[in-house]
Amino acid sequence: MNNQKKINELNKSLGKLSKSLEDLKTNDKEESESVGKNNYKGFSHAFRIVSELFANVVVGAFIGWGLDYFFHTKPIFLIIFLILGLISGIYTSYKSAINWQK
């Protein structure tokens, strides 16, 4: 009888311990995750948007130049695709910014 009581008490304190351990763990996790997100994810996203803005213009210019080279229509396609590249650069970085906010 006495033994049974002791075992029950031990079980109770064990339960308490594991519960407080669990609490500590989740607290730690939340804290570290939020810190990581705030500092580095934003940083990496900024790099991403800048390079997208840049690469789209370059690709647009390159496609335009290539089409002009093949069709001998010197500045027409270059101008059209440069503008398209600018638009798509802004459009792409806008989309990735929207995605990030979600």
């Binding site: 790099f47 991403r48 390079s51 690469a55 789209n56 496609i63 398209l84 798509s88 792409t92």
Partner: protein, 245 residues
Amino acid sequence: MAEKHSPLDQFSIHRIFGEIKIGELDVSFTNSSLMMVIVLVLLNVFLIIATRKKSIIPDKLQSLAEMSYEMILNTTKDNLGKNGAKFFPFVYSLFMFILLCNLLGLIPYSFTVTSHIIVTFSIAFSIFLFATILGFILNGRNFLRLFLPKGVPIYLAPLLVPIEIVSYISRPISLAVRLAANMMAGHTMIKVFAGFVVALGIFGIAPLLFIVLLYILETVIAFLQAYVFTVLTCLYLNDSFNPSH
């Protein structure tokens, strides 16, 4: 001698064992190739030693290996969903290779492989080709939905389709340029400020302190760029599974 101290001298490539040619192709073993071999050997040795013991309570090396494994596993799961498991080995190798190239490049007198745009571009372009072919195999003609999202009115198509195509082709270029430009800019900046230390004599302490701070930033960037590269690889691969956003 003067050129030896140029900040851009660290990026020059030279042959180690003389010229080796296959037909017209120059396949000489350069310092860049040597650095890549060192990275691969170190990576394998690190992972073999770190995972040899398989103890329940990990030591420092083992927990490092487990941390990188878990981080990439979560990234692939978040971005690729149930298809993540198939691509995990590829994404993990990619991440570790780029990360180690970036970090080993920070050691003085070593060589930064990822500062050359041709290296990063060949990695990015092979991923781009693979994702495109995979998309066409999995979805057939439906893959072209990527260029015209659902719910867009048809009169916008002539404007939107070229824009989406330009934005799709720009993916490997933005991947390659981001990594290479970040690495090259950082290393050049460190070298330039290192030149100031000598030139300023006793006042050189100020740029010296600045270099220390810059090195911390560069380490963060080395890690971050490797991570961004892998995350975007996952995102692009995900587009080949679900082309209609």
